[in-house]
Symmetry: C2
Subunit: 341 residues, 2 copies
């Protein structure tokens, strides 16, 4: 059982914080009470997801965002920044540790920035759950803005979109040569699009392609994603009702993270998106949506474990054998099992 | 309710097959009986997953594999090939349709190749479930080899590794410039590694980097993945016991798919992996593993739906409200709900 000093965490004690995160990462028996203790304090931080494929310079960009947030504001307003680096594709820690060391050097010395990486042998679902738990702890610990960096594509993008308030999708120039490179799907999760490495050839083309796809998606009145709020009002409707909620047009920005170019504009957009979410009511809607989903997932797990506890193992094994011999489909096996139990 | 002509499907009627797949894709009421009807006939096809990022030329490679399988074998032995193209990152169909049209032209006229793409607005989990259902139908319809093509990274890779018997991971040269480009994680799911576009600079370097990482992983005696069989015997053990099960060393191949170079060698490796799986017993182990997992997922869904049906909505809403106001953590809410229900 890990003893957690709540006061120390709330007062910015990094050792206590690191211990709490490690306890959650390792599923220590104490992790539940840690989350319970910090949960009431959470719900204030701005969670900013940064996703993108390999080679887009995503990590450098995240570092620059953190630096810019810290250095361009006068002392009393300086936000406390946390970075969670999630690598769902690497179950080995080697890569993450190397990345961490480079990153530590870059941001060393600023006590207002806390960095924690997460590379795990776990299934993606478990990783998403722990990322959310990390966010709760850091949020409860008083960090104002939490950058969650993850490798793009597939489930990782979906999970980050669910967790973060603001999703930044990072592209690199030249990827547009391939038909599939700029996926229409990213338009659905991106609040801000960044073409990084803008000094490389093709940056303008990539940005333009993204813009075109954005306006196409905007023209499509059916453009709406399950579980994600509708970002754009229907053009006809919004003309008719000018007193409607504010809308958000995902901007496409060019950056050169290695030279800190375009970062300040990006940070401005992050702040604007925060303002937009609060003004439109989507902030609260998203929080409610997420907490409800968390509750449902936990309920489903609990129901499954309870059911297994009361199960006649012999009956289960016989039915499973029928499925394995293709005498009975999995769906029919479910009916048989739920009638018997 | 869709009328499904089982005989027509088993005799290679494409219209009947397409109807069955569409019924499953749309969750038609008849889809359950379709799966039930074809399930006993399934379990024979070799499921080959092909995964890789954008720009690796994965689709062209899949086409060439299908062509090679069809053209290099005499008429009576020609295997029936199906291709399922899954795009988990694009909820829009535009891209997939364009890709389909290009692909159709390339493989047109060969009645022994059936192609079906799947781009969906669904969540990834649903997509994986439907891909598995598609595989069952095509398998039951008598296809000998089913190529499942998916966009790489994250959950899609995990899902494909779970479904397919043989996983081919496609890389392109030059991606190795980035620290994170060659993810250690792919070594865990790859049975065959392909560096496509081998006429581009850096192909040999990328192949060498993959080889080095493979031998490093091999040296690591703890190298084993949850849910995936151990592919390599411990070198010491296998010297001691020569009568052990056959082992598999994931080969790294160079291909130029656009010129059909290296494809025959790749196809040979696919066949060898099939032979290896059968000889080692991993084929059956994997099938059993997968069917059991399918059963569990369906059981979990059913338990959740049953529980919701018997739920006092008022009680649920009150507890949910406490969670949303951060008076109660989701975990404590679960305890409260399961005690009350």
């Amino acid at each position: 059982m890990v003893e957690i000093d709540l006061n120390a965490i709330r007062q910015g004690d990094r050792l206590a914080l690191t211990r709490a995160l490690t306890a959650v990462e390792n599923d220590d028996p104490g992790s539940r009470s840690i989350l319970k203790t910090l949960f009431p304090y959470a719900g204030k931080a701005h969670l900013v997801g940064v996703t993108g494929g390999t080679g887009t310079g995503k990590s450098t960009l995240v570092n620059q965002i953190a630096k810019s947030l810290r250095h361009n504001i006068n002392d009393e307003k300086k936000p406390k920044i946390a970075i969670i680096a999630v690598d769902p594709t690497s179950p080995f820690t080697g890569g993450a540790l190397l990345g961490d060391r480079i990153r530590m050097q870059d941001l060393a010395g600023d006590r207002g920035i806390f960095i924690r990486s997460m590379a795990s042998r776990e299934a993606i679902g478990g990783l998403a759950h722990k990322t959310a738990a990390f966010a709760t702890i850091l949020d409860g610990a008083g960090f104002d803005l939490i950058l969650i960096e993850t490798i793009g594509a597939g489930q990782a993008e979906v999970d980050i979109a669910r967790l973060a308030h603001t999703v930044i999708v990072v592209e690199a120039p030249g990827l547009g040569d391939d038909i599939q490179a700029i996926k229409a799907g990213i338009l659905e999760i991106a609040d801000i699009l960044v073409v990084n490495k803008a000094d490389q050839p093709g940056a303008e083309n990539t940005a333009r392609a993204l813009q075109v796809m954005l306006s196409m998606a905007q023209g499509d009145s059916g453009f709406q994603t399950a579980g994600k709020h509708m970002r754009k009002a229907n053009p006809v409707t919004s003309k008719a009702r000018q007193d409607e909620k504010p809308t958000w047009e995902p901007p496409v920005l060019l950056t050169i993270a290695t030279e800190a170019k375009g970062i300040d504009e990006l940070v401005t957009k992050i702040h604007r998106h925060h303002t937009y979410l609060k003004a439109s009511g989507f902030w609260q809607a998203k929080e409610a949506d997420r907490l409800q989903k968390d509750l449902e997932v936990l309920l489903q797990d609990a129901l499954w474990h309870d059911w297994q506890k009361n199960l006649d193992q012999k009956v289960y094994e016989n039915i499973l054998a029928d499925v394995l011999h293709r005498k009975c489909t999995p769906l029919d096996a479910v009916e048989a099992l739920l009638k018997r139990s």
